[in-house]
Symmetry: C2
């Protein structure tokens, strides 16, 4: 009984594939600080949970394939407040941002087509590309540059006859990089010049620090007269700390893409009904809920950076947004190091879990010395976790020195 | 800006694509009886809605990609009670049965591979096949045979070098047909002989009437020593009248398929968290909730059949299960007739919506005179709706006669 090629090639999530090792550590009584996964500990707004509890229909029924009218209107209103001329009919509610990515890829790519990405990139782009038969053509960004874009000609050289789109996340997962207006404008301009779509994954839009504002693909495309090329991927998961709701959005003014995505959506019938009401409640709380949360994450970022600075040889720019940082650590093989953390390391019965950085690259061998840290724990816990990481690097390198 | 080939070819749902016409009819003040979509009016068990309301965690967090442990255990326990030796680790929770179908296709097929289906079949198989680049090879079943399977040699003749699986639903959507043990055994035997997977979509398992019991693919495969070939698709949508929950299952003892499906699942992170608790509550209510519901549907089936018998020339066997019937009506073009119902027909401000039958076929031209009726309304409403349908056929045929 053979599997398909894509069934064999489909990558395991680098964020989740070490989970069995973490489970084993926990079974041994070790406390594991999870810095591997972007699951915030910030409470979901109680008003959103109330919206779930206040559901009073007798039947938990299918909703429209495109999402509930009130949810589409809430998302469109939010985007309008950002200054972008989006109608509710241009918003498709999806099963998380995940499904929006898959729908976008399927709508514009056939098997063998290429999408240009910047590595390191959100690892699940690889998974969706594998499912869709799409090749990710990766342009490298470097930790030394704070993972900002390389020169235009470097990006342009990667665009070929099979390239259909440029896909990026900003604020970036796993980089924490917030692309400047000039960077986003360059990507949109390249899309116009080479007849491509440009897909902006902006699930972390509000997560920008030190006075920054994230530049939106719809805003730039609108100014450039290129709205038919722009596809926005969005989600309530991080904005409202509601990852388990599985509510995302695909937003575009390209009628063909929207129609194709809707037909993909009809096949799976509808996104979860109940959580769409919670999403509506969430968008009404934006001004109250989000700013204090961002300030909390800014403090956490500073805690993580203070820890990283205690690791001699660690390379990392201060992250500008999202809640990730992808440092290069002097550990040789970061994948082996991440396994060591779970298998062979603990201090006072505690250890830390991180995501190996190579899983965020398409190019084999890249990111070998990098890890991704998600700063989703309280400052006090983060402080302990970073202390464990500092000790672990010392222990790991002492062992490596002994072995040679 | 071009779409992909699959973006262009992706079929609109025949169940949902006439919705704009229905919306227009409603805007004109016409009451529309929805027989087009399998959205039951049966209340979701209040205990399941309570389970949703009783969620007390402060964070609506990601769950495991494979589903919550308690949900997998509840589903495995349910299958064990049916006599099938399934462990919780062999159950993957999916975003509805829909996602389970897509994962199964992706795990075993690459672009250009074929899956054998029996037409008329659940229309969304076409959509998922389009997304996955899979060709559906359709073997015809006939309304005159109650949509039971043709002879073994007819099915065998459709199996070719690219065939990877046989996919069927029983109790059947849109046919209402419950395959006999001999029919399921034949499919499993063909799978063994030709080295195929056999995918049983059993979302309507309990919906079998007149003393019938639906034969399960896992039971037959277990007896045949072919468990590594069997993939079960299941869902809580119909069993617990919880379509909007989007909780389904992929169940298999084939470790490779399970592992590939889990990796597809990791890319989309997790199914909705909250509704998985509702599912656990549901499985505890099976004996209390399901039998009276099935008796209610049996009465509705009889109401629909009584109506169909009033249409001269209608051809239809008494459905044995599920809550659909796919009759052939003497209306020429059933798609035009379905549009007529919404655009140009009403009695006392009321009309009825049905799904054109051709959307349930892969072969162009087939099912042209058929419609699918979902008997998901109360008997009194169904009675009115069927009366409207009887009148509509008369009116439609009188108009057609006038036009010639």
């Amino acid at each position: 009984m053979e599997l398909s090629q894509r069934g064999r090639l489909m990558p395991a999530s680098p964020i989740r594939r070490l989970t069995p090792l973490a489970d084993a550590a926990k079974a041994r009584g070790t406390q594991v600080y999870h810095l591997n996964i972007g699951q915030p500990d910030i409470p979901t707004p109680p008003e959103m949970l109330d919206a779930l509890r206040n559901f009073r229909e007798p039947v938990l029924a299918y909703g429209p394939s495109s999402g509930l009218a009130e949810t589409r209107a809430a998302m469109a209103g939010y985007l309008q407040d950002l200054g972008w001329p989006i109608a509710p009919s241009e918003v498709l509610v999806t099963e998380g941002g995940s499904e929006a990515i898959l729908f976008a890829m399927n709508a514009i790519c056939d098997t063998g087509d290429e999408i240009l990405v910047f590595e390191p990139f959100y690892t699940n782009y690889s998974g969706f590309a594998c499912m869709a038969g799409v090749t990710l053509k990766a342009v490298e960004t470097r930790v030394e540059d704070g993972y900002h874009l390389p020169a235009r000609e470097v990006i342009e050289a990667a665009i070929g006859p099979k390239t259909r789109a440029i896909l990026y996340s900003s604020p970036g997962n796993p980089t924490g990089t917030v692309f400047t207006p000039a960077e986003v404008a360059m990507l949109v301009d390249l899309a116009v010049k080479h007849d491509l779509y440009v897909i902006g994954d902006e699930a972390y839009r509000e997560f920008a620090y030190d006075g920054r504002t994230a530049t939106g693909v719809l805003g730039v495309a609108s100014e450039a007269g290129a709205m038919d090329r722009a596809i926005l991927i969005d989600s309530i998961s991080k904005r409202f700390s509601a990852c388990g709701a599985r509510i995302g959005f695909l937003v575009t003014q390209n009628a063909g893409v929207l129609d194709a995505a809707l037909r993909f959506g009809q096949a799976r019938l509808c996104p979860p009904t109940l959580e769409q009401y919670a999403a509506v409640a969430g968008y009404g709380l934006l001004q109250k809920y989000v700013p204090p949360m961002i300030e909390e994450y800014r403090r956490r970022r500073d805690t993580v950076m203070a820890g990283l600075r205690r690791i001699p040889g660690a390379v990392c720019a201060v992250p500008e947004g999202a809640f990730y940082v992808q440092p290069r650590l002097p550990v040789g093989d970061a994948d082996a190091f991440a396994q060591f953390l779970l298998n062979d390391f603990s201090v006072d019965g505690r250890t830390v879990m991180v995501a190996p950085g190579n899983g965020f690259y398409a190019t084999p061998g890249k990111g070998r010395e990098e890890i991704r840290i998600a700063y989703v724990l309280k400052e006090a816990d983060l402080d302990v976790a970073m202390g464990l990481l500092v000790r672990a690097v010392e222990t790991w390198n002492a062992r490596r020195a002994d072995a040679t």
